[in-house]
Symmetry: C3
Subunit: 302 residues, 3 copies
C-alpha cells in the first residue's frame, strides 16, 4: 500500500493499520534473530525544533535497526550561524536534497503538513505543537494492544489524565474510532477533559464513549487503561490530582488480562508500584515503538 | 592531486577545481544509481563552535553517502563538563586521535588554519568567523555553474546583497578570479559593499569588475545572479532594502539561460515568487553541496 | 570473563584489567590494519546529562571503529518537549528498549549504579558527578602505562593538581592499588589534597603513598607524572598556582623513560612547552582511550 507522508492519524485506514502492524511484527522477528535489512544507502534526517529525546532516539534507533543512516538536530531553528532560523519551507526543501526521509518535530500546529507540501522526500510528523498530532505514538499504542489481544475490535479503553492538550490521547481516539464496537471512557478532571472536536468526531462516527470524572468505577470495566501525563501546575490542588493517580491499589481492581499503557514520561499520575505488575505495558510500548517506526520507514522508503 | 587540508579559497588552483568538479560529477552518478563507496572504516568529526545545521548536515550526509561514519557536536566549546572549553589546538590534537578527518566551524577568523597546523588528520574549514572564509560553499557554487554552463571561462556574474561581511560572496570572488575573462558586478548599498581587500586582489589579478548600486540595470547582462543575505538591521530603511530584493518581476528581465543562486538561508532579498522559475538554482545548490563535499572528502581521505 | 556493567573502578580485578588491556591491544592492531569488526547490528546510546565532548566523542568513535551504531544526546534531561525530564530510572528503562549498551554521563554521584539496577542492557559509567567516578578514564590511563612499561607492578607515580575533587585521579588511585609494590605521591596544595576516603583505602590495602606539596623533589623519582586540572578560582593566588605548573624546566628533571600523563583538558598546570617532549603521552592517552573503550564495549556486548 502506498504511503507518501505520515502527517496525521486520520490518514490511516484500517487496512493500512493492519499492514503496518504486520510489518512491525516482521521487524520484531528480524531484530530478534539478529537479521539485517537493506537500507544502508538511505539517510533519515531527524529535524527537531524542540528537543524530545524519547521520540528522536526511538526514530534514530529504528533507522539504525534497518541498517540505515541518520543525520540529526534538536536545534532545528539554528539553521545558520549568521541568520539563525529560516522559513520551515526553505529548511525542508534543503533537507530534501540531503536525505531520503525527514522526521519532523515542529513547534507549530500544522507544521508537518506544511513541510509535506514542499518536501521532495517523505515527511513523518513526530509531533507538531500543543493540540497538534503525534500519529506514530498512536500507531505504536495500537500495535501494543493488537500484539497482546490480537484485535482492536470490541476493545474497551479508559483514557485518563490531561486529555485536553494531550496529543497522544487525541491521536489514539481518532485511530481507535475506525475499529468496530470500540468503547472509550474519558476520565479526567472537568477542566482537562477531551475537547469537543474529538467528541463531535466520535459522535459523527457513532463511536460509544463516556465522559467520566471517577477513576475507580471505570478501571474494572476496561481492557486497557491508557494514562497520559498531567503537567505540573495544571490542577489547582494536589489532593484533587490524587483522584487521578493509578497505583497498585487501583490496578488490583483491573481484569487479570487488562493492560496499563502510558506514552511516558510520567509525572505523578502513574505510580512506580505498578511497574512490576504483569499488566504494566508501558516499557513494552517503548520497545514496540522501534518496530512500528521501522515498519513506517520501510513503507515510506520502499 | 594531493590535498592535505581545505582552509581557504586561495589554495584552489584551476586544475584542482576541475578535478574536484569531475569527482563531484562521479559522486552524483554513483548516488543516482544507488552505488556504494568504500569508506565504511572512516570517521568524520564535525566540530562546530556555532550551530549551523545547513553546513553540518550537508557534510554529515556527504560522509554517509560515502559509506562513512560521523561523530558530531555543535557545542564544540563544551569539551569537558568540569572545565568547559580548552585551547582549540588541544581539542584538535585530541580529535586527531579519534577520527580520520575534521570538519571545523570555528568562531574565530583563522581558526581553521590554526587547527591545520597541529592536526594529524585533514581539516576542512566549514566557516571561520565573520569576515573569514567558507571555501566549500564557494566550491559548490562553482560546481553548480559548471554543471549547467560547462565552463567558468567568460562568465558574467552579479553578486548582490551584504557583500562586506559575506563569507560566501568573498570566497566566490576569490575563486572566480582564477578563470579567464570573468566579469563581476558587485551590487549593494554603499555601506554593505565588497571590501577593499577583495577589490585590490581583483585589481592585481586584472579581473574586470564593477561596483554598482542599481539592481535593474545589471540583471539583464549576466549569466548568474548570486544573491546573499542582508541581515536584519543592517540597512537603515526597509524601503531602501526593497531596492535589493530579487522577485519574479526582476527575474523576468534575466536571460532565459541565466541562473539565480543563493547560498541560503534567505531573508527578504530573495522572494519566494522566484522559487518555481526554471532559473532558480538555489535548492540545486544545496543538492550539489553533497556531491562537492563527497568529492572533497575522498580527495582528503584517499 | 563476564562483565555486566562498568560502574566503578573497584569492580576491576587484576585479571580483568589484564584481559581488558589484551583486548585493547588487539583493537589497536585491527584498527591499524584497517580491519573490520562485526558489531554492525549493535546500537550504543550515549546519554549525557552534561555535555562532555571529549568523553562522548571518544565512546562514539570507539563504537564506530567496532562497526557499530550510535544514538546520542548531550541534553539527556530533555526527555520530552512537554514535560522536560523524568526520573533517571524511567529514562534508562526506556533506552534499554532502544539500544544494546548505554554510556551514561550522569550529573549525580551514584547515577550510574542506579541506572545499572533497572537497565536491561549494560551500562557504562562515563562520569557521575563531582566526587564520583569515571572508571574508563582510569582504565585508559592504566593501558597507556602498561603499553609502554609492560607492567604496572613496581610503578612509582606522582599525581599532581586538584586531587580532592578529581574523578580521574581518584579512579586511578583505586585501580593502581591492586598492583604490587606501587608507590604513589600526591602532590597538591593542602586545600586540594586527596581526600581521606582514598588515603584510608590505601592504608587498608597497605599501599605506599606520600602526601607532598613540593613538585620539584618528586618528579625526578617517578615513572609517571600524572597531572590533573586545577580549576580556575580554586586557588587563592596565581603565584601559589605557579608552584604546581609542569613545564619543560620541570620535565627536564624527569627520568628519560618517564611519562607525563594528563586526562585533559588542561588549564595552566601543564605548559605547552612540554607537548613535543618524547615523555609527553597525553595525546597518546586520548588515542588509547579509543582502544580501551572498544575493548570494554566488546566485553559487554559479547
Amino acid at each position: 500500500m502506498k504511503l507518501s507522508h505520515v502527517i496525521e492519524s486520520q490518514q490511516f485506514t484500517v487496512p493500512l493499520i493492519m499492514e503496518l502492524c504486520d510489518r512491525a511484527k516482521d521487524m520484531e522477528r528480524i531484530v530478534a534473530r539478529g537479521g539485517t535489512l537493506d537500507y544502508q544507502n538511505k539517510i533519515m534526517a531527524a529535524l527537531f525544533y524542540q528537543p524530545s529525546n524519547r521520540t528522536r532516539l526511538s526514530f534514530e534507533s529504528a533507522m539504525h535497526r534497518l541498517g540505515g543512516r541518520v543525520v540529526s538536530t534538536d536545534q532545528a531553528n539554528m539553521f545558520s550561524s549568521e541568520v539563525g532560523g529560516e522559513r520551515l519551507e526553505d529548511t525542508i526543501r534543503t533537507i530534501s536534497e540531503y536525505a531520503d526521509v525527514i522526521v519532523l518535530r515542529s513547534s507549530q500546529k500544522g507544521g508537518a503538513a506544511r513541510a509535506a507540501e514542499v518536501s521532495r522526500i517523505p515527511v513523518i510528523n513526530a509531533g507538531d505543537g500543543s493540540g497538534g498530532q503525534h500519529p506514530t505514538q498512536g500507531l505504536l499504542d495500537l500495535y501494543t494492544i493488537i500484539r497482546e489481544r490480537g484485535t482492536l475490535d470490541g476493545l474497551t479503553i479508559a483514557m485518563i489524565g490531561e486529555l485536553s492538550e494531550g496529543r497522544t490521547a487525541r491521536s489514539l481516539a481518532y485511530l481507535l474510532s475506525k475499529f468496530d464496537r470500540v468503547k472509550m471512557y474519558f476520565v479526567s478532571p472537568p477542566e482537562l477533559q477531551m475537547k469537543p472536536d474529538i467528541l463531535e468526531y466520535l459522535d459523527r462516527k457513532n463511536v460509544w464513549y463516556s465522559v467520566e470524572s471517577q477513576l475507580e468505577d471505570v478501571v474494572s470495566k476496561v481492557d486497557v487503561v491508557y494514562l497520559t501525563q498531567i503537567r505540573p501546575g495544571r490542577l489547582a490542588g494536589q489532593e484533587h490530582l490524587q483522584n487521578y493517580v493509578v497505583d497498585s491499589s487501583i490496578v488490583k481492581n483491573m481484569r487479570s488480562d487488562a493492560m496499563v499503557l502510558h506514552p511516558l514520561p510520567r509525572t505523578l499520575e502513574l505510580d512506580k508500584t505498578v511497574d512490576e505488575d504483569p499488566r504494566a505495558f508501558y516499557f513494552q510500548q517503548a520497545r514496540n515503538g522501534i518496530f512500528v517506526r521501522m515498519a513506517l520507514l520501510t513503507m515510506l522508503l520502499d
